[in-house]
Subunit: 197 residues, 2 copies
């Protein structure tokens, strides 16, 4: 942010976050990143040993950037169902705003590298997930909170993830892509199930 001299290394990371998230590792060339930054490919190799190193640094950076208006909501003094509602709306909004980041995580999940999974679970998502798990227990102490927490996340993320294909599927409307509409649908489904609209 320093107007005089911004860190080139940081600009490279910022650019590659966007590119890797949008197109995936194999579909982003070192040339693409260099072009986005405005330097030549050879110059990248002054800052990073190779493409893989750059990729990992980008993921780490992306993780550490995005954090927690969500924690506030989960730790507020509202009744549990209100907290869940607020959480879903906020989470949907955040995920919707930062679609590239969501894709990056999805891609990591697909690759399924065990060491990286463990790192993500224990160093990045742990606090968030645990707090959501506790909220679910508070709402229904009888339920399998682990499964329910995953279900909540799945409903939000999958609606966002399927945006490109839902456009071509029966019954699609513009509003189905709006974060608030998705959040409303998900919260209602969680409260009432399919039977009650």
């Amino acid at each position: 942010m320093d107007a005089v001299k911004e860190n080139t290394r940081q600009i490279i990371i910022d650019s590659s976050i966007k590119l890797f998230a949008q197109f995936g590792y194999a579909n982003v060339s070192v040339r693409d990143i260099a072009d986005a930054v405005g330097i030549k490919p050879a110059s990248l190799y002054y800052h990073f040993d190779n493409k893989q190193t750059l990729y990992l640094a980008s993921i780490k950076e992306s993780f550490s950037l995005k954090a927690s208006g969500l924690s506030e909501i989960l730790q507020s003094q509202e009744p549990a169902e209100i907290r869940l509602k607020n959480y879903i709306y906020k989470f949907t909004a955040l995920a919707s705003e930062d679609e590239p980041f969501c894709r990056l995580i999805q891609r990591e999940m697909l690759d399924g590298d065990e060491q990286r999974m463990q790192y993500l679970a224990e160093k990045v998502f742990k606090d968030q997930f645990d707090a959501l798990d506790l909220l679910v227990i508070e709402i229904n102490p009888q339920c399998d909170s682990h499964m329910s927490a995953i279900s909540i996340l799945s409903l939000v993320l999958y609606h966002l993830e399927t945006t490109p294909i839902r456009y071509f599927l029966k019954g699609h409307k513009k509003q189905h892509n709006q974060a608030e509409f998705i959040a409303q649908h998900v919260f209602n489904l969680l409260m009432n199930g399919l039977l009650k609209s």
Copy 2:
């Protein structure tokens, strides 16, 4: 299956399904497929115009094998809720059995190539999705059937997709990875919401 002379085209499709599903489109070369089949890359171009055509044919082929069992369930004479229950159990089982294929579809969604999305939606998934949509309407005519159908699919698929990371998250148990357990959780959630276990 003919012992004397099996269709080379079919062997190519079978081989590429496995490769694309496991590694993703960009990570599988025409050479890889040719090697797996046991022919030279040039020979592939006698059977298919290009890599993309081969890829789409593979997905279509792979999906239609699974879809027939699901269609039966959706078109049976059972009450709507029983059909939904049977559908979820069968769908979960199928998806669980062919994890590579599920990953392939997920990758497709992440790539979000518009032409490929349209092809998949209209030529591959259409009939299945429409039938599920109708079932949802039957169960609750008031609801947004498009959103609800996506929600059903999301619940099943995301539990499977997150298998590698859930292992490291709070409250995980072995049974959370079993198809039948997931189906039970999903059906219960859809019927009763989060509040009732």
